[in-house]
């Protein structure tokens, strides 16, 4: 088992915690604002992915791992997830806009 030297300090995690809290509060504030629906959804998705990346990089130490391990996760999860949504969403939209509806 590889024992890597510790590259972090306790401060690192609590700064990460602060950033995550600030992002969460921002998302809640944006939720109250009268943004157009499409823009609102896009902003929320970006904020969500930023939060998720920060958790994976800092809390889960992805930033200290080999890039190959990061690619394994990114390809396995993000790309599969994107395909899943990409294939399903257009179909749902078609149903919404069809005559039958």
């Amino acid at each position: 088992m590889a024992t890597q030297p510790m590259q972090t300090t306790i401060r690192f995690y609590w700064i990460t915690w602060t950033i995550l809290l600030v992002l969460t509060v921002l998302m809640l504030l944006i939720d109250q604002s009268p943004l157009p629906r499409l823009l609102f959804v896009l902003v929320m998705l970006v904020a969500m992915l930023v939060k998720a990346s920060i958790i994976a990089a800092n809390f889960m130490h992805m930033r200290f791992e080999r890039i190959a391990l990061a690619w394994m996760v990114v390809i396995g999860l993000l790309i599969n997830g994107a395909i899943l949504f990409g294939l399903i969403v257009p179909d749902a939209l078609r149903a919404v806009t069809s005559e039958a509806w």
Binding site: M6, A52, F59, G76, L84
Partner: protein, 202 residues
């Protein structure tokens, strides 16, 4: 070995320590990928149902957003205490690690308690798996599916954390296992980020 194969072997840097990360960690990540795909499937199905539904209830009228925000706060904080616990165990401060895992455990219990309260309240207002007073029957169904599966992961996490605390007390838990428990706990937090955004905010 061809040059390409050597390149792959270098990246893998295999044996019992693939990716230079240790087989336990790599297998934990493989588990996280598969478990993450389970939630991706649920969320995609939820997105489909919601787009297909002409009338999705306004979540802010059904749920108390400040309460959900408090749940999010508890979970993010427990993630930070867990990260601190992993750091403490890796720097040899076992007593401190045990204390921070205990904090995480308390955070997880609080989250689960809040979720139990939310469920009780929601069911009390008439929400059922197949029907609810706010309109589309799938609204409550997906609420129970998403938060239920997430909650069951929190419960599993609490069992893992309890075992970790006990193991740290008796010296039976190696440093690597605290890190694995940490990875799992952060994953539970990560999934909540997605559910919080997709189900409660958007």
């Amino acid at each position: 070995m061809s040059e390409a194969a050597v390149g792959v072997a270098t990246r893998w840097a295999g044996g019992v320590c693939p990716f230079d990360a240790g087989w336990k960690k790599v297998m934990m990540w493989v588990f996280i990928i598969t478990d993450g795909l389970l939630f991706a499937g649920f969320l995609a199905a939820y997105g489909y149902a919601r787009l297909m539904s002409g009338v999705w209830p306004d979540q802010t009228e059904v749920f108390s957003l400040p309460f959900i925000a408090a749940m999010t706060f508890v979970l993010i904080t427990s993630s930070a205490t867990m990260a601190t616990a992993v750091w403490a165990s890796e720097t040899g401060q076992t007593a401190s690690a045990r204390r921070y895992v205990t904090f995480t455990l308390v955070g997880g219990l609080t989250f689960l308690g809040m979720q139990a309260y939310e469920w009780t309240h929601f069911i009390g207002e008439g929400a059922r798996l197949a029907s609810n007073p706010w309109g589309d029957p799938l609204f409550a169904a997906y609420f129970f599916l998403l938060t239920g599966f997430h909650g069951s992961h929190v419960l599993t996490g609490l069992i893992v954390l309890t075992k970790t605390v006990l193991g740290l007390s008796t010296g039976k838990t190696p440093v690597a296992n605290v890190e694995m428990a940490g990875l799992y706990w952060h994953f539970v937090d990560l999934v909540w980020v997605f559910i919080f955004t997709f189900f409660y905010l958007i």
